[in-house]
Symmetry: C3
Subunit: 259 residues, 3 copies
Amino acid sequence: MSLKVEDHGRVRKLTLNRPEQLNAFNNEQYAAVRDALKQTEEEEPGIAVAVLTGEGRAFSAGQDLAEMQRMIDSGSEGYQFPSFLAQLTSFKKPLIAAVNGVGVGIGMTLLSHCDLVLISSTAKLRTPFSQLGLAPEAGSSGLFPMRMGWQNAAYTLLSGKWMSAEEVHQAGYVWKVCPPEELMAQAMTVAEEIAANPISSLIATKELMLAGGRLTLAQESHAREIEVYKDLVGAPANREAIAAFLENRKPDFSKIPGA
Amino acid sequence: MSLKVEDHGRVRKLTLNRPEQLNAFNNEQYAAVRDALKQTEEEEPGIAVAVLTGEGRAFSAGQDLAEMQRMIDSGSEGYQFPSFLAQLTSFKKPLIAAVNGVGVGIGMTLLSHCDLVLISSTAKLRTPFSQLGLAPEAGSSGLFPMRMGWQNAAYTLLSGKWMSAEEVHQAGYVWKVCPPEELMAQAMTVAEEIAANPISSLIATKELMLAGGRLTLAQESHAREIEVYKDLVGAPANREAIAAFLENRKPDFSKIPGA
Amino acid sequence: MSLKVEDHGRVRKLTLNRPEQLNAFNNEQYAAVRDALKQTEEEEPGIAVAVLTGEGRAFSAGQDLAEMQRMIDSGSEGYQFPSFLAQLTSFKKPLIAAVNGVGVGIGMTLLSHCDLVLISSTAKLRTPFSQLGLAPEAGSSGLFPMRMGWQNAAYTLLSGKWMSAEEVHQAGYVWKVCPPEELMAQAMTVAEEIAANPISSLIATKELMLAGGRLTLAQESHAREIEVYKDLVGAPANREAIAAFLENRKPDFSKIPGA
């Protein structure tokens, strides 16, 4: 099971559960999170708040690159990412992330779709899109500037460098840094504070806030990103980057005109 | 008189003046602030800047709940809040708030419509909307994310918990924390710095800034909130919350399906 | 030559080079920066990142006021500012500013169009628009709230006061404060970190981010500002302010109705 689901009163805890793959998203995990969010929203009138975390030492290492290659080869047939993202983007109940370890790629960008992000002081985050010859995804081209200001967003997306828990907190991308051993307890405490209020009001609040700009920004940014990916995926810079990654060497873009 | 008006050179000071009701807004006070802002904008070519503060130990305890109940019962006939808010939202001259004590509900949300907010270090703010079975008002569903970032806005609006002066400052919701005894002097100093410039330029600057997004965001957010309130006001969660408040007990939402 | 251009690997360094005029923008300098950015974007497939700085002790003292007067007198014939701004606003490659000294007017507002801003700890910034009887320019009426939050933007634009390097950093307007002697080295280090990635990805990232709101906000804000300037330039408050400036005295707006 790529996702564990547990209820604590009015709080549902969702735990990414592929610890040996550092919770990297394969198709099954995308589908599992999507379905769990959909069920929480539509079929659980007694659940007020969802908390998302990761099993083991990582939060999520991001897109499984081997699977990404298969998707590219097969023309994205059956790829569960778009429907996962659509569900995440419009999820109507409060969603809290407890980032227990590294978050890479979608493991960092999905946090822009959460309402509160708590992070372990030992965790770090990174979006290696430009290093892979790619571009921002999951709406991050629009949501990162909204969530951490233009300059932090630009540095993160353009450089692809690691950001420490303290740096993403300073940037405003996460709400609170916690000692690792207190992360889940603090996340659950906040979740319960919120869950004590009427669910009808929590849904109304989240929906009004989303309508204030975040939902449209996320959807439109994602739509633009999809178009850009059509040009970048499989282009020379992307091929060189993936080859270098699989061969465990530094990519050499200098031989590629314009890359 | 629910509002005191005093001029200091080119600065007009407006003081909410129902100290025994902690400056809670009744219909008369909404109308008084609305009319004072309108007059400052339209009939006072020598007034450059307005400063809003509260008499006594509170800034404003928010909507007067007894009056709110009367408004609900009477179908909002004669309710002065919408025209108050419309005037506040589009006020053309710089508006500075000096938050001398607690701000609750509209006593917190109106600050999103001010251009600079100074707060006493002993003050605290809170929006108990979800706790009352309601939802954000006064455009706060859109303006809070703009003014304090998504996560602080979500925590404040969803939880309804108190935020200290230091917390709202860290969140970016207020510009400056002052010792209580220096609050008014510091607010007047900033007001006078700004008021020294040509009023035509101050109005042009404020109007250009409003046109850059805040005005539309406030108006559209408020319009959406109005629709949501139609469903929430008087619904079971709201009735239980108000009953519990009046009976001075903890509300019990668990008996209400979906609440 | 009002602009020095040097390449360091994949990084192009552009240095405003009118040190005796504190790099104030005259028509020639506007045109030089515009042309250099355009060439970097269109004709230099091997340049990934541009860095903008100033020669001597200032970054830029802003619009050359004597030239501004000539432009007003001649009906803006041949004025290079609009095409400079249009190029800056839509520049497709990452643009990093290294603010080596004072930035005034456009010397501060152009930073909103940069992706990362590093500043010397001894520098300071200021927009004296309202003090000159004018209003925000270069899209700053929309971009300042986006880059430093509403309240810092309002204070800066309305008051026209100096802000120290530390203050603009606290406000989020600059990304990093550096000791003066380390400014260029740190700016080049960041530029090189980014420039190590495929240029195709850097351009895609910047364009997606711009499409997420900044480009339209900048263009629409500038268009509104242009309209407002038609009323303010040459009006009594502006004439008094410029006369006082040239006569090195404090302006007296009290004799001008509404100013």
